[in-house]
Symmetry: C2
DNA sequence: CTGTTAGCGCATTCAC
DNA sequence: GTGAATGCGCTAACAG
């Protein structure tokens, strides 16, 4: 793709710098890596040549030498457009930066094929480790056989049939506590909005939801359960369905960010256009910016995605820094806080 | 950092695969790149060996060969934690993906030093092009001399003293129209919340703001101007100051996302705790999730950060696909929409 | 159809 | 202090 030829626009190499400075490539290399065993005046000449040519070391060439790693961590998230994952990536980046590594960030769009391709590409680019928020629909591309010696940390979600280092939220208890708060508030008709079931958080949060119901002698009502909403628009439609029922739920548990926002939009529309029915009490997993400003009864199961990312990165570097570490996968569950913002 | 030695855990190479399959490295290479001129049965053996060893091509090694590029685009944004830039990155990624490239995403945290280091690192990793949302505080690291032949596109902001391909929003007109809407609504005491002045959007949006005032025979009142807020917390404090004035503004122009959210929070707090003063009318640049759900008079200067990213990527690939292109930098201004959500 | 040679940019090893 | 030789993983180009 690039024109070769040693014209002036071609990327300069150590050799170009060496010629310019009137020394050997080796002297340039030495100067670049600290200048040990190079006379000060020679170093000056080298740096001048570097400056003039706009030379940058070729990190790819460096990384193919034996015993050297790329300094890259591959991070695969499901949706860059979701602020949640931006925060998550920021948490990973901060910790990686402390360990002198950069991140390569890729977006899977919740598609298994893209996740698989992304991971493969990351490995091809010699990442030292992988942090993946998996779609959950497949495990083969993440098995040790495929990854070779590249350590993997799963974040936020598990993958069935895959035993790897994992950091999760305390989904079950969070959902349980939040649902219990609704029940304690006198609600018995509680709706549920959730993600597709292939995503483990959807299953775990539903489990907590049901556990709280059972404990109160209640059964989940299938008519009030809507699952599979992956984006705000779908969530909004699902919520509109629930609100449109003859006997609508008096409270809703929303299992994530996207569903909560969709639900809030549906409530908002109804308050403006529809009959003046009191808005259902809403409990939502994940924080929502500005949630505390709304005129809707709202409880948030709160946590910091940045911490989730940071924890995933820490678990990865634990392994990278100590390859002799106990091989058995570790599972960490981060706590969540059930906070009443308005209610 | 990695243990060398040819133990089983070492990353397999073409040679390992070749041995395993009982062929030469060249045959493996050919098979991997499509299988032209390799007998079907030999290919089978090769693929089997690939599978068994968990072999992945070393893209770094491939990319150092003459005439081959890395397939990477370096993207530097200022704040991964801002959903705005997540959307932006998504737009870049989508277009890059169409052109068969991946993105390396880095976060500068609005710090010039990190931006400079990031760009340098990107080049060291042989990115084919750069897309940068600059802090605006320095230009040297982005000059052609430093970048060599790596094309650059600036997004969202300009850098003083740097002439490069740039995609901006129509900041001035957007701010002008929005402010005019306030003036047409009868407001004369209009506050301003903005970013630090080193950021060109802050300057441009202020310019549009002042232009609308002047056109109406008004002067900006220094007592109502607060600039330099980079995050939500600072924006909130600034807004609280304005609200606390003896003669507070009846309307506010907020120059971005972060400031709008901080302002909304300040208004919310005051409505709950303070005296029942009518909330000022707020005009905000950039979309805000859930903005339409609030009980606050709000006008949004709306645009899609994803489009901004996509446009930046398109401008980059224009150059990559046609290196002979007219060298003079291009400037694109994307339109914005002033929409009344509530008011 | 398949294998051998050679070289990409860099730095370790070994001479001088 | 400095330089020459060598090899990292990969694949054009050139035999066979």
């Amino acid at each position: 793709m690039t024109v070769s030829g040693s014209g002036p626009s071609a990327t300069p190499t150590v050799r170009d710098v060496a010629e310019h400075a009137g020394v050997s490539p080796m002297t340039v290399s030495r100067t670049l890596s600290g200048g040990k065993n190079v006379r000060a005046e020679v170093q000056e000449k080298v740096w001048a040549a570097v400056e003039e040519l706009g030379y940058h070391r070729n990190e790819n060439a460096r990384s193919i030498r034996p015993g050297h790693s790329s300094g890259l961590i591959g991070v695969a998230i499901t949706n860059l457009g979701n602020p949640y994952y931006g925060q998550f990536a920021l948490g990973v980046e901060e910790v990686a930066s402390l360990h002198g590594r950069r991140i390569m960030l890729g977006n899977t769009g919740e598609q298994l094929a893209r996740e698989s391709q992304l991971v493969s590409d990351f490995i091809g680019r010699q990442v030292e480790g992988l942090i993946v928020v998996p779609t959950g629909e497949g495990a083969e591309h993440l098995t040790p056989g495929r990854l070779g010696s590249v350590p993997l940390v799963l974040a936020s979600r598990t993958v069935e049939g895959l035993d790897a280092d994992t950091v999760l939220l305390d989904d079950i208890n969070g959902a349980y506590e939040a649902t219990k708060a609704l029940i304690d508030g006198g609600h018995t008709r509680i709706g549920f909005l959730g993600n597709v079931l292939s995503v483990s958080t959807a299953r775990r949060r539903y489990e907590g939801f049901v556990r709280a119901l059972h404990e109160a002698g209640l059964e989940p009502d299938p008519a009030l359960i809507r699952r599979g909403q992956q984006d705000v628009a779908a969530a909004r439609r699902a919520m509109e369905e629930l609100l449109g029922l003859d006997d609508p739920p008096t409270a809703i548990f929303s299992a994530n960010n996207r569903n909560t926002i969709g639900a809030l939009q549906a409530i908002g529309t109804r308050q403006k256009d529809g009959p003046a029915i009191p808005a259902p009490t809403l409990v939502g997993f994940d924080d929502v910016e500005l949630a505390d400003m709304l005129q809707v009864p709202l409880i948030i199961v709160s946590h910091d995605p940045r911490q989730l990312g940071a924890q995933a990165a820490r678990m990865l570097f634990d392994r990278l820094d100590d390859p002799e570490m106990d091989e058995s996968p570790r599972l960490v569950e981060l706590p969540v806080t059930v906070g009443t913002l308005r209610g």
